[in-house]
Symmetry: C2
Subunit: 326 residues, 2 copies
DNA sequence: CTGTTAGCGCTTTCAT
DNA sequence: ATGAAAGCGCTAACAG
């Protein structure tokens, strides 16, 4: 039989209310009795039951984290950021994978509701109205993480993807590249990727931007698509929408006997550890992956304890890390 | 005010007990009344409160997952396996990072206890008796995942690391390599890595195995250590304890102007996506990372519902994937 | 500063 | 097949 707050109360010869007070620090307790309670707690090896607490207080100190797939490097790094800050504020996280499927995402918001999480950190490729409806119905505070909400209805943490796209192209143009290819997912697969492409197009002005589509953006697909494309077009530079796509581009180029950066320059997005694990090491538009998670979680804690929030839509800074691929 | 089971009962003109029965299928309910209840549920948009359920039933359908660091590729893949199977059996996971620090690990088992998780999946580098004591005290079923328990006291899922070490060396020896280096972490950093080294040593018989230590096994450290070592010793093959270390080895070799596999062959452990994202692509001893998680979780579900278990210590198979680095 | 007393929303006997 | 009622272990008024 596990030890309950009632056992502690008896052992310390006080009421359960007093025990609750010393555990939670919700009211002043005389030093002397506090000590008695603490002694009793350690003597009995008492652990407060978080489930009972949750039921009584209506707060579980648990956050739901909904992501497309933890096994993606970018996401895992972000989750680590979330968990670190959650831990710091004494929250735990329930992690689920949605594979970015709307139906599943809506259902997951439902299970988070049932589990009575205090808040949700949400990441997806394309935010649909069904998901927003689900948030409303569940009445749970949500922070979007590295996810674009065109109408900015929901608190979020992001970078300026449009500018990031511009910056990548600008960087190559300054190196006097003329024929630039943009390797990315299919249109509609990711709002973030689509925004970057828009930014890139804008910076090209009236020059052509050669868009290379790679489905969901996997290495193997990109490898063959880039190869095909380069054979037909004489590109001298490539922007890749992720490190993985960047790696594929570099290898495709090298497999054809061309050199990076001499023949073709490559710049990619993200800056996961992959970027420094290729030869040549990759120049990137670095995304603050860990910070996405950490800042989202911090924002959520503010929302949860009604701290003043200056900005419900935080924009983190991206930056260019120049390495050998350009 | 959220809808409760009581509201549903009233709406359907039955008792809450009956509502509970149709939700949980714990007893036969007449088709007619079941329909009334289901209607009421959807009409009111009722969601059972998992916290209240947990308190009443003493089972939370939540599993604690304690890992060193989700942001490591290997771990993230494993967590994905855990979550997929958990989801299949209607469990959720609470994920925490321990950074493999004993003190923190013990404390995390404590918070899992408080959260009343039904079971724990545990991964660490070195399992200490303090952690085992913590499991005992919390009285929670635990499954070790990709973690060596020398005394096999706790249910676990692993590969045969000793044999895997032997196999790696055997493979190189068959290719008539003579001077083999083993790149790994410092001794005592990881029981798994140490076991592999033992296996490797065994297969070498009376020949020298050149052990290259790299602290905690990070790419950057390995890069310089391997370089130093290769300059002084004429190695013709390397076994690396992880993909990351393997990549470092390949790059160190190439940076010195030597060729892989012509001058030095490289075989690594794990087979994360990294292995096919290098040139040359890496030959590896593949570990079933996803399966580690999936099988662990499946084993745990058996433990939790008292299904018969044939084997409390599951050994998964590793296998060699030959690519261009050998 | 401390104790008493309702619940929180559900599951689970025990009756009927 | 269904209902009544007693908790599960804790928090949060409300008294005093």
């Amino acid at each position: 039989m596990p030890v309950t707050i009632y056992d502690v109360a008896r052992e310390a010869k006080v009421s359960m209310a007093t025990v609750s007070r010393v555990i939670n620090g919700t009211a002043v307790v005389k030093d002397d009795t506090k000590k008695r309670v603490l002694d009793a707690i350690s003597r009995l090896g008492y652990r407060p039951n978080a489930v009972a607490r949750g039921l009584a207080s209506k707060r579980t100190r648990t956050i739901g984290v909904i992501v497309p797939d933890v096994s993606a490097a970018f996401v895992a790094e972000m989750v680590r950021g979330i968990e670190d800050i959650a831990n710091m504020y004494d929250y735990n996280i329930i992690l689920v994978n949605s594979d970015a499927q709307v139906e599943r995402e809506v259902s997951l918001v439902g299970t988070m509701w049932e589990k009575q999480v205090d808040g949700i950190i949400y990441m997806t490729n394309v935010l649909s109205s069904q998901e927003i409806d689900a948030f409303e119905e569940a009445q749970i505070p949500v922070v979007l993480c590295a996810t674009e909400d065109p109408e900015r209805r929901i608190p979020s943490v992001n970078i300026d993807n449009y500018r990031a796209g511009r910056d990548a192209v600008h960087f190559l143009l300054e190196k006097s590249c003329k024929r630039i290819g943009f390797v990315t997912t299919d249109e509609g697969e990711s709002v973030v990727a689509d925004r970057r492409l828009q930014g890139a197009r804008n910076r090209m002005r009236d020059m052509d931007l050669h868009v290379i589509r790679t489905g969901k953006g996997r290495y193997e697909v990109a490898l063959s698509k880039v190869r095909e494309y380069i054979e037909s077009q004489e590109l001298d530079a490539i922007v890749a929408a992720s490190d993985e796509l960047g790696l594929a581009a570099i290898h495709a180029i090298q497999d054809m006997g061309k050199r990076v950066p001499e023949d073709v320059k490559v710049i990619a997005f993200d800056n996961t550890r992959l970027a420094t694990m290729v030869r040549p090491e990759m120049t990137v538009i670095a995304q603050p992956m860990y910070d996405f998670g950490a800042v989202s979680m911090r924002l959520l804690t503010k929302l949860l304890q009604d701290e003043p929030v200056e900005n419900y839509s935080v924009t983190l800074l991206h930056n260019i890390v120049e390495r050998q691929s350009t």
